[in-house]
């Protein structure tokens, strides 16, 4: 019988146990903000909307390059998660695609302060083979409620229409339903549903006769955008108020924003960051000539 093997095992066991325990106990070692005289120190966590996540991550990166002692952590998880967490105090900033009142019970939504950090536009998109360039609001409603089932009914070729939807809980779908479909309830059990914008784009390019909607940041040459009531979904048309399908991206804080969270939100809305917002396909608030309250 060799002597060192049991020893080795014991060692491995002890080592792994102790590391596991250290791992478990170090959870309390959250970075605590230390008060400093001049520079901004401390940390903030932003959780929520996956649509806002790339922009927020970029902003955090640039923000931390400027403020070396401040930490901003950006996490996804969806608008609902972000709003829940911020309302319960689980994070400092809750990112959301929609107004908090649309997701949370009124008593919880009331405790949150809204910061509209930018605007995002949405386009009606179709498979490139569809020979239609424009849809009126009513035609769009009829398509999504299942009254119009073939492209020839709206001036296209003889091809049946395939609707691709986002999940009912998605902020993109809520916005599209509210501003493009005028709140009309989609016909149940007809549309394919894809979990995310990327999956929509892939399915759209693969499926003949398909129609869906995407944030402008996702639109590229692989899909064809349609005019809405004759208006092109361009940034200029959105800022001037001619094109109605757009929404705010929100950052909610519980009560007024404080410390790093406040500085971070201010940075995102500052003129230093507008060029990045535009570059990523979002629209800065400062460009908007129209506004909304709910």
């Amino acid at each position: 019988m060799t002597k060192f093997k049991p020893l080795l095992i014991a060692l491995v066991l002890v080592l792994s146990l102790s590391v596991a325990l250290v791992g478990c106990s170090s959870n309390t070692a959250q970075p605590t903000p230390a008060p400093a005289a001049n520079s901004l120190t401390g940390s903030a966590t932003a959780v929520g909307s996956s649509a806002l996540q790339p922009l927020a991550e970029k902003a955090a990166e640039m923000f931390m390059a400027k403020n070396k002692d401040a930490r901003v952590q950006v996490q996804g998880g969806g608008s609902g998660t972000g709003l829940t967490q911020v309302a319960q105090g689980g994070c400092d900033i809750g990112n959301s695609d929609v107004f908090a009142a649309e997701k949370l019970p009124a008593d919880q939504a009331g405790t949150l302060v809204d910061h509209k950090v930018c605007v995002v536009g949405f386009a009606t998109v179709v498979n490139p083979e569809v020979k239609v360039d424009n849809l009126t609001g009513q035609q769009l409603i009829d398509i999504f409620t299942g009254k119009i089932k073939n492209w020839k009914e709206v001036g296209g070729q003889d091809l049946s229409i395939v609707i691709l939807n986002r999940p009912a809980s998605s902020g993109t779908r809520a916005t599209f339903k509210k501003y493009a479909l005028n709140g009309a309830e989609e016909a149940a059990g007809q549309a394919l549903t894809e979990e995310s914008s990327g999956a929509i784009k892939k399915a759209l390019t693969d499926t003949k006769g398909s129609i869906s909607y995407l944030a402008l940041s996702y639109v590229d040459s692989a899909v064809k955008t349609l005019k809405y009531d004759g208006v092109e979904p361009t940034v200029a048309n959105i800022t001037s108020g001619k094109y109605p399908i757009w929404s705010y991206e929100h950052m909610y804080t519980k009560g007024e924003a404080k410390g790093v969270a406040k500085a971070f939100i201010e940075y995102m809305m500052s003129s230093d960051f507008t060029s990045t917002i535009t570059q990523m396909g979002y629209i800065p608030n400062s460009d908007m000539k129209v506004s909304r309250d709910k």
Binding site: G78, G80, Q190
Partner: protein, 306 residues
């Protein structure tokens, strides 16, 4: 080595026997605690739909109306989960139908026809199939299978069929391994007796080996079904997620795991909508307990009859 003539006093026994024994016993009991904690949390979250939002169990289980975003003024949120339950049953049921014959045949091949070949080549093959991550299965399904179904069978490609095919590949290792275990423990006497009576190999497999190993094979099938029921990402990528009961196997459909992954992050905790998703997670937990119960019944019957 310890001096074995040494007197084993109380301290020695405590140090070299009872301390270790206590530690491993505690860790064993920890498994129970982990399971209980999980059950407890899922029940407390999953039952909120019924106790806080006052949705009746009957409505949740047997209504096809899924309108969780509807205003209370218009009749309140409706969270009937029947469509998702049926979707899960259909997808995993078809997957089982496709997978079982091939999986069991492979298990028979590995144990009865060519054990050498089975051990050297097929065992590693199965292990690699197990190791392939489910997102990769989904990714291949989306890139290869969905277009294939669309071109060969028509429809949109996103379909019950595509989901079942992806799942059938994912669950075959489970069925084959468990069935192979059951087949390999059949005593050689059985076979030899059959051969001595002049039976061919196929006849022996069909009349002697297969029936003897049946409880084990069924266990494998049920475990495969359990795996199919709970698989989330791969299925969601290929079934199209249309909230309806499919009319044909080429129709798109939806299941429990898909609706959970799609809506969980986008809904706020505490809302009826979110609670309904937790109830579905609880339902998945209960279903997997039922599967284990079935396996135990099969096991008991198997040992009683032999």
């Amino acid at each position: 080595m310890k001096n074995n003539t040494k007197k084993i006093d109380k301290y020695y026994a405590l140090k070299h026997e009872y301390s270790g024994r206590t530690v491993v016993t505690i860790f064993g009991i920890m498994l129970i605690l982990i399971t209980l904690t999980m059950v407890f949390f899922l029940i407390s979250k999953g039952s909120a739909t019924f106790f806080q939002n006052h949705i009746s169990l009957k409505e949740f289980l047997f209504s096809t109306e899924w309108m969780p975003g509807k205003d209370e003024a218009q009749g309140g949120p409706a969270v009937g989960a029947l469509i998702f339950i049926i979707g899960s049953i259909l997808i995993s049921g078809f997957a089982l139908l496709i997978s079982t014959p091939f999986s069991v045949a492979l298990a028979i091949f590995m144990t009865q026809i060519s054990p050498a070949f089975g051990k050297k080549l097929l065992q590693p093959v199965i292990e690699i199939f197990v190791g392939i991550p489910s997102v990769v299965y989904g990714w291949i399904g989306l890139s290869v299978l969905v277009p294939f179904v669309r071109h060969q069978f028509g429809g949109l490609g996103f379909s019950l069929l595509a989901g079942s095919l992806v799942l059938s590949v994912m669950i075959f290792p489970t069925i084959t391994s468990v069935a192979a275990d059951a087949l390999s423990i059949i005593p050689n006497d059985y076979k030899e007796a059959s051969y001595a009576l002049g039976a061919t190999r196929w006849h022996t497999i069909r009349r002697i080996i297969f029936p003897t190993a049946l409880p084990g094979i069924l266990t494998g099938v049920v475990l495969g079904l359990a795996r199919a029921f709970g698989e989330a990402l791969a299925v969601q990528m290929v079934i199209g997620n249309t909230i309806r009961i499919p009319g044909t196997i080429l129709d798109s459909t939806v299941n429990l795991t898909s609706i959970i992954t799609m809506d969980m992050g986008n809904t706020a905790m505490g809302t009826t909508w979110n609670n309904a998703l937790w109830s579905m997670a609880l339902l998945l937990l209960i279903i997997s307990f039922i599967f284990i119960f079935i396996i135990h019944r099969i096991g008991r019957k198997g040992s009683a009859s032999s």
